[in-house]
Amino acid sequence: MTRPPDFLVGLSDSLKGRLVSHAAGVVFVAVALAGFALSFEANAPAESAQERHLESYLELNGVDFGDPLDRALFRESLDRFYPGQAARNDSLLQAIDDARVRRWSGPGLRRGDTNRGFSPALLPEIAWQFAQFLLVYILALLGIYFGAERLGLYRFVKWKQGRESYLGESIRIVREYRHARANSRVRFPKGAVALDILKALGKGILTTLFFSPAYVIAYALKTSVDTSSLPFMILLALVSNGVLIQASNRFFELLVAEDRKGYVRTATVKNLHTSYEWNAKEGVPVRVLYRISQNLGPHVLRHLYENARFQFIPAMKELGSFLVTGLVIIEMALNIQGRLSYNLLQQILFGRYDVACVIIFSIFLAVKGTEVFVDTWHDFERRRYGF
């Protein structure tokens, strides 16, 4: 029997299987992208032999073909190397001039295309851009993880309080007033209704903001804010494209699903706290919404939260992929120069698919890295809880 590699020792069988699957996926995508790039390379119009020949002259050190003296010296050198072939040497000089014109007025240059295909010299530039992309991605992912848990928890507590809809609340107040007015003279609670309507309006604006595509928000703020700065990028990734609201909704649903399970009733019978009033004696402290580590004491919400959190961990894989989509859209749509996704767009624009494939592979690795991390974390938590 063969011994597994050292890095796999101590891991559960399911995690080992997943890691092998991830590794196979990386190899598969690398091969597929290489094939894609090569097929485009093969179909691209090849540089003619004459062009390559002229390039060798244009790259001569110390010769400026725009300078009449250099031109005259070059012409004399040609006569020395190829004596008695004046017509051939004149044609060569004319061809060099034409190549220079093409070099400075070609369609690619007009679009800003100054580089050629992939070369190892491009790697440090791509690596730096990838590092910036990764930094924004990791910070935004952390923000979404904690934000989604807190928002989900907040919604769950409001749901348990029966106060999920502010408009519903204001309608309830009006109905109660109408009912009370029939029996006695009471004043209409204008303040409470106005406050609920304002809250509903604020909630609507926030929901609209959370669902707005990043480019709509960024263009609306472009004249007032530096939209290419890293903090703005992170904030935009957090609040736009519906990522945070979808993640919080997922966490909320997990909490609700947990709330329906039998152990909640058992816990209630065993005298665990079940009140969901904010900061009440046996209720939920408001600090759970902003503290990183949760300590809910003997409240049943503690168990709901821990079980929901455990199930929420695998969802981070999908969220990671969706967040990367959002980041790519932000960088591309805002044309932020010097960023990885903008570079990818430029490479596609200039038809340099080999460089584009390298960038796509780096983005793929970011998602794959998240998947490996999440699988390992989930496996660790599973063993911690003894599943």
């Binding site: 996926g25 995508v29 263009y219 859209i329 624009l349």
Partner: protein, 297 residues
């Protein structure tokens, strides 16, 4: 008179009970009000563009959802059958491809689709606008169909854990009929419909985003920016971008809102259509899940 009042009351009661219906009505009303406003204040050519863009976006989104259902159904059932028949190598190969698609960000997949579309246009294989829109629809569906596939796999797995399949096999019902008819059609339609509604929003988001990117970032490449008008490409046009940029004036002068809703209508209408559609379809999917108790309260 009484019967019409009763019908109205029943309809209102139904809308109040089922949030998905309420949000669908709200979406229709919102878009209707926008069109009415645009009819009055927006010039006719721009209004035509907004209508055409919304129509193309909705048609493409619906097409992507339908194709995702077909692809997801086929792949989900294939996964299940391969696992059931212990075809390890075929299952591993299919998993490899599915995991690779899953790990590539959706926007990258759609962009690759646009690159291929560019090649097809240059080779004059695809010419008509309808064919271009169909290509984009297929591309978006390839990027999102795995979500349907996952739903189908989880439903099949759930029924396998109940020994539903073994019991039916013992009754002499064919495997194919158990999967397609008994489990997916008879017992999973609501789950699939919920997933498809959610996917409609994702498809529209992806399509608008990539169209916006392609129109802004690849505008020098004529063939790529010649795809049919959608909300994304309409928003990327110079007029619309200026309309959106004008929104920042609201920070310094909130009274400028009166100008926004009259003078900057093309961009604001396109942005409103995108955001309002995304919000409403998220709420419809959520409301549907709640009313059917699929995964919410």
């Amino acid at each position: 008179m009484d019967s019409s009042r009763q019908f109205l009351r029943q309809s209102l009661g139904l809308i109040r009970r089922r949030k998905e219906l309420a949000w669908f009505c709200m979406w229709c009303a919102g878009i209707g009000c926008l069109f009415l406003w645009d009819e009055i204040f927006l010039n006719a050519p721009a209004f035509d563009r907004v209508r055409a863009a919304l129509f193309n976006t909705l048609v493409s989104g619906a097409g992507a959802v339908f194709l995702s259902l077909v692809l997801g159904w086929a792949s989900g059932a294939a996964f299940f059958l391969l696992e059931q028949r212990r075809a390890r190598y075929s299952f591993a190969l299919l998993s490899l491809v599915a995991n690779a698609i899953r790990s590539l960000p959706q926007v990258v997949l759609v962009l690759v689709g646009y690159v291929l579309l560019n090649q097809l246009i240059l080779a004059e294989i695809i010419r008509s606008e309808t064919a271009q829109l169909a290509w984009v629809t297929v591309t978006v569906s390839v990027a999102v169909f795995l979500e349907v596939s996952d739903t189908i796999r989880s439903r099949l797995e759930y029924f396998r854990s109940l020994e539903f399949i073994d019991a039916m096999l013992c009754c002499g019902i064919s495997e194919s009929r158990i999967i397609h008819r008994e489990i997916l059609w008879r017992n999973s339609r609501e789950h699939l419909l919920h997933k498809l509604i959610a996917l409609f929003g994702v498809a529209i988001f992806l399509q608008c985003s990539v169209d916006f990117i392609v129109s802004v970032g690849l505008s020098t490449n004529v063939s790529l920016s010649n795809v049919p008008l959608t909300l994304g490409s309409l928003l990327a046009s110079v007029d619309s971008k200026q309309d959106i940029l004008a929104l920042s004036n609201l920070f310094s002068d909130p009274a400028y809102i009166t100008e926004i809703v009259v003078r900057h209508l093309q961009g604001v209408s396109a942005a409103f259509c995108i955001v309002f559609t995304l919000v409403c379809f998220f709420m419809i999917a959520n409301g549907y899940a709640r009313s059917r108790r699929l995964n919410g309260p």
